[in-house]
Amino acid sequence: DGHAISACLITKTDTNPFFVKMREGAKEKADELGINLLTFAGKVDGDHETQVAAIETCIADGAKGILLTASDTSSIVPAVQQARDAGLLVIALDTPLNPIDAADATFATDNFLAGELIGAWAAASLGEAAADAKIAMLDLAVSQPTVGVLRDQGFLQGFGIELGDPNKWGDEDDPRIVGNDVTQGNEEGGRRAMENLLAQDPMINVVYTINEPAAAGAYEALKSIGRENDVLIVSVDGGCPGVQNVADGVIGATSQQYPLLMASKGIEAISTWAKDGAKPEPTPGKDFFDTGVALVTDQAVDGVESISVEEGKNLCWG
């Protein structure tokens, strides 16, 4: 039917389960509300041009609104502006634009907070030993995309390490950090990065990972030298395999995000906008709508709020 409202979902990639779930969430809600959903994704993390082309396509298509997880949060702004000028509602999902008010609204996880939670948890679990911990930082990619920086810096903040420039990782000079390496966010990269850092210092006992696949890869590397039980691995995402890995003791704790929630809220907002032109409101006290983040672990520590693995499993996304 030619009169149906249409909406677009543009994600960074659609190879990461996180975005796959986001798309499923959006699709479900869209079907429910009778909205025609078009989905787009970059080819690799950081593929900015494809996202610009996707926005242009949505304008050409006459969509009512766009849900966007931007690869490059400030470069995308002119394209977003073009869409808003053409009368589309643009909602940033997961990652705020820079500046944040470049989008009509933002439904996001606080990635820095997500990092901070696992950092604080790791420090608290180690207790005294935190003072001479040996930390491996397994980041995303050398191009330092924003999510990667926020989670990394959040972790260090939470752990109690002084940050250098908070807009980039790798410039801290705390001796507890053994090194940073990049994983591309998958198992293979996670294993290789872990091996490289272990070759530098086999006594690493805390591992920060950008996401749960990287954590699983790091675990394999540790297992191959028999150290899987005396190293603390922390991660971010909260996907079902990740939470299962927390249950199995592969990962100590993970910060869980809620992509399905973001997506469905976003679709609702577009539907509202199409009907009566109202824009969604941010969470009180913040400049975005916080869809929340929760620390999932079975080894709760004092001073860091967390949910159990059981609860995590009920909320996990894929």
Binding site: K43, E49, A53, A60, V77, Q144
Partner: protein, 353 residues
Amino acid sequence: MSASDNYEAASAGASDRVAEFEDTRRGPVQKFHHALHQTPSLVPLIVLVLSIAVFGVLLGSKFFSPFALTLILQQVQIVGIVGAAQSLVILTAGIDLSVGAIMVLSSVVMGQFTFRYGLPPEVAIAAGLMCGTLMGFINGFLVARMKLPPFIVTLGMWQIVLATNFLYSANETIRSQEIATSAPLLQLFGTKFNIAGAVFTVGVIFMVLLVLILAYVLRHTAWGRHVYAVGDDPEAAELSGVNVTRTLITVYMLSGLICAFAGWALIGRIGSVSPTSGQLANIESITAVVIGGISLFGGRGSILGMLFGALIVGVFSLGLRLLGADAQWTYLLIGVLIILAVAVDQWIRKVAA
């Protein structure tokens, strides 16, 4: 056997008319065959027109509007410009994997020189263009003088330039708003003008002009012929008096310079200066070149074909997205269509042969 001594003299009365044959095949089909033979870039052009027609039928005015069609031009402009650089290199039987990295570094230099060091944008742009040319020179020097394989040289340079880019820019994006207020010249290529619903940008015009000029240079100047000769058989070219080293170095320098222009155009297209852009520029430009009918073994093909190749991919991408295919399905279908495009191309050539 008779007097063998002067049998050669018997050829004295030989006819001295150039051989001619009656051509019994003179219909329009034959004329068309002949045109295909003379102009190899016609084949990708036919494929392009066919694909526009197919999507036009499927999508109607959504696709067949001046807006959508010029949108394709805007979306392929970067690939088109970088593809021009890539074509030059591939014609010499090389390959340039560093095009995307050079493009991005050049745009970062333009941005940082303006905003970090406060230089006038004109100077910063000149510096960016020089930076691209210099990178190209290094590639060319390693390929032509040190005789290293282009694949490895440009693979190495890709990593080096990209890492330099991240280190130098500190992964910082310079935002569009800032550029617009204090150095709009950087966004020159993004300037739009509207002709009856069709939207053209300076970048699009630049791409088309660049390709036309290069087509002229390659076809009608000595340097252009040398580029083909070097790609065809470098040893034969050297023996028949072409300065192979100089030709190669100039090709890589020009390629670097064009990539730097692409960097400038990139600022125009995305508004900001972003060190993470352009990661797929090398594979996309090579794709355009190959679909356009230029041989990866060098010496054969036309740069106009590259432009049509880039547009074919652009048409497919936009068309499929408008048809509502989701991302993975789009990639899958583009994969199928790339193969199909080249198969059709091959088929037309065969039928025409």
